[in-house]
């Protein structure tokens, strides 16, 4: 099994289940629409009837935008960010809810019926919450420690006369943190997959099994995850570049379309990583099924000898080809 095949197998699963991406994009968009409703309402009230707002259409005048933020009628920044955060959290919960169904879909060789999808979701919800709690505690602690260590190193580096050193250490530290956190993420991805596909009630067993496999195949799995993350980065940068380069400043429709296409494409990498986890589970973690050879009935010998009259001495148990030498004792 090569990385390429793990990546391509995962991508194949994503491609065969494109509808999940579409649904998640719709969910993401819908929740974000709610999350930005307060912003829109405030913005309409101030901008719709003033000529000054034109300076936000033909380009982006940061001064006008700053003045908008200053206006008490617009509300505080919290007024904008809190609803967005609430709905971002809702999207996260929805992801947690529907992910078991997606794992089942990826593992299935056929189009998973809706009933099975939601059955998997409901059956694994509480298990997922338990995994998320464990993952959250562990990842939070590790992230906290890593950030603290990185911060301390960068602070120390700031005493250096090499101005770029703190930045270089910061970037290096973030890269190391990314690798460590990605390792943790793929560990718990495998645990989630194992819980769903092996239908394990005791999530600790899935977590333990996933841990063993993460260690065993770390290079392959991590490489796959990093490659996919790089793809995500390229998609994001590419989308923003196209947005700035080709979409006219006053084209709201163009901006909306390129933004949504970028966001749609950005959903793919994470699903791809999960599909990689499913592929890995199917290839390496699935308990092997012992193939039992069916017992062939002994062929009935074709009688070639002339049938002689047999005296009635009792039942015959030996092969007819080898006549018994003595009768068994009864």
């Amino acid at each position: 099994m090569t990385n390429k095949s793990l990546l391509s197998t995962g991508l194949g699963k994503v491609a065969h289940n494109k509808r999940y991406i579409v649904w998640f994009w719709l969910l993401n968009l819908t929740l974000a629409e709610f999350g930005t409703a307060a912003f829109r309402r405030s913005s309409h009230a101030i901008l719709d009837n003033t000529l000054l707002a034109q300076r936000l259409v033909k380009g982006f005048d940061a001064g006008v935008f700053g003045e908008l933020l200053f206006k008490p009628e617009f509300g505080s920044l919290n007024f904008m960010t809190y609803p967005a955060l609430y709905f971002a959290f809702t999207f996260f919960l929805a992801t947690a809810l529907f992910l078991p169904g997606i794992f089942s879909g990826y593992a299935s060789n056929y189009r998973l019926p809706r009933e099975e999808f939601f059955r998997a979701c409901g059956r694994n919800l509480w298990r997922f919450i338990r995994i998320m709690i464990v993952a959250g505690i562990l990842m939070g602690m590790v992230a906290g420690l890593l950030f603290a260590a990185n911060g301390a190193i960068v602070k120390k580096a700031a005493e250096s006369t090499n101005e770029k050193l703190p930045f270089e250490l910061q970037v290096t530290g973030l890269a190391v943190m990314f690798l460590i956190m990605t390792t943790l993420r793929l560990w718990f991805d495998l645990a989630e997959v194992d819980t769903v596909l092996d239908d394990k009630r005791a999530v600790r067993k899935s977590i333990a099994a996933a841990f063993r496999h993460t260690l065993r195949s770390l290079a392959r799995l991590l490489t796959s995850y990093v490659v996919v993350t790089i793809v995500a980065g390229i998609l994001l940068v590419g989308g923003l570049w196209i947005w700035m380069k080709f979409v006219p400043a006053d084209s709201v429709v163009g901006a909306f379309l390129i933004a949504q296409i970028t966001l749609f494409l950005l959903l793919i990498p994470r699903f791809w990583q999960r599909a990689i986890a499913v592929s890995y589970w199917q290839q390496r973690m699935l308990a092997p099924v012992v193939a039992v050879q069916p017992i062939e009935p002994a062929p009935v010998p074709v009688a070639t000898l002339p049938i002689a009259p047999v005296p009635d001495t009792g039942p015959v148990v030996s092969s007819p080809s080898t006549p018994p030498t003595e009768a068994p004792q009864s």
Partner: protein, 687 residues
């Protein structure tokens, strides 16, 4: 009875002496009370043999440009390990006050960086723009100790030096010391002071001090106050104040470790390598009122020539190694700024200009000293973010508004910082474009006029421009009013008297008051004289007052004059039936929300492309314009030429009758994208 009176007199004298002793803190611990001068033979020359040099080494002028009052000769040795300077300063002072002087105040600015100093108290109360004091340890403090002070013809008067706190009576503040002489200096006479002092630099604060192996020597030597309007003017150092000093000549010897690359005010006249791994560099400055220097072993240097109106200028750029690729950017904006200032305001007469790119993360960036400025950048500074251009232009502008037009920065900060912010807008708009002079990056733009206005409207009504710099409610208000409001007020003034007249007034002001200490009225009267207009109505509100200007279009609407017949028509032809001959009654109501009264223009547009300009004196709270036309009003806009920069709220300056949701849709698209991306990122890591 007589004895009792005598006893009472003795007791009263004793108590009085005690009070005086307590009130006037001696500079040195050894001093117990103001003592008579030592009778030892004076080592300094007396008035008859003294003079202030009329040199012109550092200026492109055959004669002195200022009335030279002081001559500082300083021999200083910098110890890079302890960040201290041990120096001897010989100050020659020419008494041109027209009266005898029996005491001299000296600024000891570095004593501001002590825990109980007024500067730090102010910072804790009012906020500070660059220093937090939460983890401020003794090793970061600064100090300036006078070891001895000798006066020509009067001997050692160290014991007569007393700390005073004229602004806030803070007995722990040691930023001003007053020296009482044994005998007054007659009008017209010279006097010489020999001061032995030690300065310990703080970790950079308020554009002075050390950071890593970099040091900026600003306000580092005892500096005499200014006799101004019949009295000594020597304020304590506050966190929102800068400086005030007399013009003169500076001869400064700096001895530093040999590996240090140094730069300073004035011109370098000699550079001698010493046997003790040090070198002594001597600088000379003419017609300047301060002297600053910097040193770092890591500066990379670029020198270039500039041909100014009065003669050649040597430009010197001291750059951080990581910023070397930006040296051309620094040079380009320096040259362009010089071009504009010489063309618009007047000639730059000095032979040098040193631009220092200070240590990153230090509080040394963005500062002006005569012929010497500090800028500030980062290694990643994108071209479209005009931070470098903004700071270099601003600090260079101070060569005019502070350096040559040497206003009192303690009392009239708006005359240097504010006028300089105004010329910053003019110059950078000319160089970088009006709407892009601050930012032109990734489709986002930001112009200098807007930046200054935003600075102002964030705190518009707490303080007036014309007030002592240390009397603001907080640092935020000081910054918003002194920089942002002044720039916006002068830009608005430009709209009142015309841009050409304003340019002429600024040129006149510079040429008339360079190398002097003008007051706020000198500036305001110059504008009135050049424009030929009485502008008191404006100055009283904008400069001396705290009134806030805010006009709004309260409403704009139209209805058919035969609306009752229209109703009948609707029944026949439908609701949208329209007759091109229909006459509409239209109203536009304009409201003065603020207490700042100013005449304004209003432009009303109709749906037949007709535009009508209205004028309103703004005296009443509101006014209404009415029209009967075969067209409906579609919009009304106050100040259609956008000449008013002090309106607190520009959104309500216009009103579109039919709403246009496009701006909101655009912003919402951005915010929607951010929200979706944020939620995807959260889900990526958390589940």
């Amino acid at each position: 009875m007589k004895i009792r009176w005598r006893m009472f007199a003795v007791l009263a004298t004793f108590v009085l002496s005690l009070v005086v002793l307590i009130e006037r803190k001696p500079v040195t611990a050894a001093a117990q009370s103001p003592a008579p001068a030592k009778t030892a033979a004076p080592s300094l020359p007396t008035s008859e043999s003294l003079t202030i040099p009329d040199t012109n080494l550092a200026i492109n002028s055959p004669v002195p440009l200022s009335q030279r009052i002081v001559h500082y000769e300083i021999d200083a040795k910098y110890d890079a390990s302890s960040r201290t300077v041990d120096a001897t300063e010989v100050l020659t002072y020419h008494n041109l006050t027209g009266q005898p002087l029996d005491h001299f105040p000296f600024h000891l600015y570095q004593n501001a960086f002590q825990p109980n100093a007024t500067f730090v108290r102010d910072s804790k109360l009012m906020g500070s723009r660059d220093t937090g004091y939460e983890k401020w340890e003794a090793k970061y403090y600064g100090s300036e100790d006078i070891k001895s002070i000798e006066v020509g013809g009067q001997g050692d008067l160290t014991r007569n030096l007393q700390f005073i706190a004229p602004d806030d009576d803070n007995k722990d503040d040691k930023t001003v010391a007053d020296l009482h002489l044994a005998k007054p200096i007659p009008a017209g006479a010279f006097v010489q002071f020999k001061i032995v002092f030690q300065t310990k630099f703080p970790e950079t604060q308020a554009r002075s001090g050390w950071k890593r192996d970099f040091v900026l020597g600003g306000q580092w030597f005892p500096k005499v106050g200014v006799w101004w309007h019949g009295a000594w003017n020597a304020h304590q150092y506050h966190n929102t104040t800068e400086f005030f000093a007399d013009f003169g000549v500076y001869d400064v010897k700096l001895t530093v470790p040999q590996d240090e690359v140094i730069g300073a005010s004035g011109i370098e006249v000699s550079n001698v390598t010493n046997s003790d791994r040090t070198k002594t560099v001597t600088y000379h400055g003419d017609d300047i009122h301060d002297f600053a220097w910097t040193a770092s072993p890591r500066f990379k240097v670029k020198e270039a020539d500039y041909q100014a109106q009065m003669g050649p200028i040597k430009l010197r750029f001291l750059m951080q190694p990581a910023h070397w690729d930006q040296v051309d950017r620094h040079e380009r904006i320096t040259r362009e700024t010089l071009d504009h200032f010489e063309k618009w305001y007047g000639p730059y007469p000095y032979k040098t200009l040193t631009v220092v790119d200070p240590e990153p993360d230090s509080a040394a960036g963005g500062m002006e000293y005569p012929t010497f400025i500090t800028a500030g950048t980062t290694w990643w500074m994108p071209e479209g973010l005009h931070e470098v251009e903004g700071v270099v232009e601003h600090e260079f502008g101070h060569q005019y508004w502070y350096g040559m037009v040497a206003t009192n920065e303690f009392e009239d900060a708006w005359l240097d910082e504010g006028i300089n912010s105004y010329t910053e807008v003019k110059v950078l708009d000319s160089i970088l474009g009006k709407d892009t002079s601050v930012l032109n990056l990734a489709g986002a733009t930001y112009g200098e006029p807007e930046q200054q206005r935003d600075f102002y409207i964030s705190t518009p009504d707490r303080d007036a421009m014309a007030q002592n710099a240390y009397a603001y409610v907080n640092s935020f208000s000081y910054g918003g009013v002194t920089y942002g409001k002044t720039a916006s007020v002068l830009l608005t003034l430009e709209g009142i008297i015309g841009e050409d007249t304003m340019n002429k007034a600024m040129h006149t002001y510079f040429m008339n008051y360079r190398f002097t200490h003008p007051t706020k009225e000198d500036f305001l009267k110059t504008i009135e004289q050049v424009s030929g207009k009485d502008l008191r109505w404006y100055f009283n509100q904008a400069v001396y007052g705290t009134q806030v200007l805010d006009y709004e279009v309260l409403s704009a609407n139209s209805y058919p004059i035969d609306w009752f017949e229209e109703k009948k028509k609707d029944k026949k032809g439908g609701k949208d039936a329209k007759d091109s001959d229909t006459i509409y009654q239209s109203y536009v109501t304009v409201h003065r929300k603020g207490d700042f009264v100013m005449p304004i223009e209003v432009e009303v547009k109709f749906d037949n492309n007709e535009k009508v300009r209205e004028h309103w004196d703004g005296q009443s709270r509101w006014t209404r314009f009415s029209y009967q036309k075969k067209a409906k009003v579609i919009s009304a806009e106050i100040d259609p030429d956008h000449t008013i920069h002090i309106d607190r709220d520009n959104f309500n300056n216009s009103l579109l009758v039919e709403p246009n949701p496009k701006p909101t849709h655009k912003l919402s698209t951005y915010w929607l994208f951010l929200t979706q991306w944020m939620s995807q990122a959260m889900a990526w890591w958390a589940v």
